[in-house]
């Protein structure tokens, strides 16, 4: 009796169970966020921790507004000098570093991946090394990168490049191997040259693994770059955050973390949208 009652949800009972699943999920999410806010504020007001380790969300909000609105940096954009919040300069530096790293590391990964995937000799010789190096934390190479590329954006780009190369190369190599062999035979029967084989058959056939590799690559490139910025630099978002921490401006640090979170979500959404486009 009880079982049958559970199987057919009692619509007449109303309340929680009568709501559609999506609404229940939404309500739960709102509840979780509201709960976290309440707990956070309670801890902040209690004075149990050192001042500002858990600042009130009101001060964090104020810091956030300050970061985004107080124009305290003289920027030179296409020859015209205007005042902008300094945050955007640092955002630009990090974006520039990550995008350059993606470009270099992504193209290198794609090229090497294509070579490894289509040549059993090369993959036999080199792929094992890549598998072992892939999961190694790339930050251990940072001292080396500073010596080679200096303390400026060069070493950050190098760290990002190094990070994103591995996921791209491994998914590209695997992507080549999963191409339907008959498509390659079709290409050969129509006498395509190597360039046409790559651009008109390999790359379109590998779309999915490439997008996945780029997605993973973007994630680790951001990590590599930010990590490098927090270690040794005087610009970029990583520097801003670690600087706020060093001078113990906790509300500002939390505000920066929230902003960084937003930027990451936006970047991921962009890649996701690009991967769905036909």
């Amino acid at each position: 009796m009880a079982e049958t009652g559970r199987l057919t949800a009692p619509a007449a009972a109303g309340g929680w169970a009568a709501l559609p699943l999506s609404r229940r999920v939404l309500l739960l999410r709102v509840f979780i966020i509201a709960g976290l806010v309440v707990i956070w504020e309670a801890v902040a007001a209690s004075g149990l921790l050192f001042r500002d380790v858990v600042p009130s969300l009101v001060t964090v909000g104020q810091a956030l507004v300050n970061i985004l609105t107080v124009a305290d940096y003289k920027a030179n954009i296409f020859g015209t000098e205007i005042m902008i919040p300094e945050f955007f300069r640092h955002l630009w530096v990090t974006a520039y570093e990550v995008l350059t790293a993606m470009l270099i590391g992504g193209l290198a990964g794609l090229t090497v991946g294509l070579a490894l995937g289509s040549n059993p000799f090369l993959s036999g010789a080199f792929e094992r090394f890549l598998y072992y190096l892939g999961p190694t934390p790339k930050i251990i190479f940072f001292p080396l990168m500073i010596m080679w590329f200096g303390v400026g954006p060069g070493s950050k780009i190098a760290m990002g490049t190094l990070s994103c190369f591995f996921p791209v190369v491994l998914s590209a190599a695997a992507g080549v191997r999963q191409i339907d062999k008959v498509l390659i035979r079709v290409g050969r029967s129509f006498r395509v040259n190597t360039w046409q084989m790559v651009t008109k058959i390999y790359l379109p056939a590998m779309r999915e693994p490439i997008v996945n590799g780029v997605r993973l690559g973007l994630g680790v490139a951001v990590i590599g770059t930010l990590l490098a910025e927090t270690k040794l630099s005087n610009q970029g978002l990583g520097y801003l955050i670690i600087n706020a921490y060093t001078i113990f401006e906790m509300p500002r640090m939390y505000a920066l973390l929230i902003l960084l979170f937003g930027v990451s979500i936006a970047a991921n959404a962009l890649v996701g949208r690009a991967s769905r486009a036909k």
């Binding site: 339907d180 008959v182 035979r185 050969r188 029967s189 129509f190 006498r191 008109k200």
Partner: protein, 288 residues
């Protein structure tokens, strides 16, 4: 005309005194593969030729080296003895005059029907407007007009195989090679597509070589049928099909058709049962 060809071509038939120069000459092809259990002879000294406009089928049981022969004639496989001549030229790699239609699903899933068909023209460097125009013509030829902008995933298996056919025809090959193009399709679709092939072949006077293990299909379409032996793949018999043209799938019910099918099956049965026995023996061997 295929009818003037000798029905039992001898080895090295270059000197055959036919009035028309053969379009495809297969001269004493021998191919063996190295396997874990030692070398296996796939094709054992096979020779024949195909006249312009002729439709020739190669029939044999699984394991008779048909597909090996197909890949050799298409220039996709080397390391064989003997040689292949296409329109008088000795074959070295894929040849512009040879068009191949594969047994497997081979449309490009990321291209629409018309872009699939335009592929060989794109490779040849034809301007976009012109190649799309030509591609549309071939899409129409295989009866897929209205589906130009669809993707292969939106089509049935039979339709996709027709896209492959249109794509190969668009490259305007002098000789069309088909490797069991309808093997994955059901019998009705197969017969109806056979009609399509007959009609196209009659419209274009397309010289065609069909690899198949399907008797009905072979008799329905061919001027001549080469029956192959089971491993090693040798020539067993060349049968001339003197059914009137133009044909359609209706002839499948005629007495003459049944006569040819029975005759070829007689040859084929022996080879097919060898293959079956061999297969069973191998399975038994691994069990012990």
């Amino acid at each position: 005309m295929g009818g003037t060809m000798p029905s039992n071509p001898s080895v090295g038939s270059d000197s055959a005194g036919a009035a028309t120069q053969p379009l495809l000459v297969v001269d004493d092809i021998y191919k063996q593969f190295e396997t874990a259990e030692g070398p296996v002879v796939a094709v054992d000294h096979v020779s024949f030729d195909v006249a312009p406009g002729e439709f020739l089928s190669v029939i044999g049981p699984s394991g008779c080296g048909k597909s090996t022969l197909f890949n050799i004639m298409g220039g996709l496989l080397d390391g064989y003895d003997g040689h292949i001549k296409v329109a008088g030229e000795t074959l070295r790699g894929p040849h512009a005059s040879v068009g191949m239609i594969f047994q497997e699903e081979s449309t490009f899933p990321w291209r629409t029907v018309v872009d699939n068909v335009a592929f060989p023209l794109e490779i040849a460097g034809m301007a976009k407007a012109e190649r799309l125009d030509r591609a549309r013509h071939f899409v129409e030829l295989v009866g897929l007009d209205g589906f130009e902008r669809r993707y292969p995933s939106e089509l049935s298996g039979g339709m996709r195989q027709r896209v492959s056919m249109a794509r190969t025809l668009a490259s305007e090959p002098k000789i069309l090679l088909m490797d069991e193009p309808f093997a994955a399709l059901d019998e009705q679709t197969r017969l109806l597509l056979g009609d399509k092939v007959l009609q196209i072949q009659q419209d274009l006077k397309q010289t065609t070589l069909l690899i198949t293990h399907n008797l009905t299909e072979a008799v329905q379409l061919s001027d001549r049928i080469l029956v192959m032996t089971y491993r090693p793949g040798r020539m067993k018999r060349m049968v001339e099909i003197k059914l009137p043209r133009p044909r359609s799938s209706e002839i499948v019910g005629s007495d003459a058709f049944g006569h040819y099918v029975a005759q070829i099956w007689n040859d084929l049965r022996e080879e097919a049962s060898k293959g079956l026995k061999d297969d069973e023996a191998r399975r038994g061997g691994t069990r012990r």
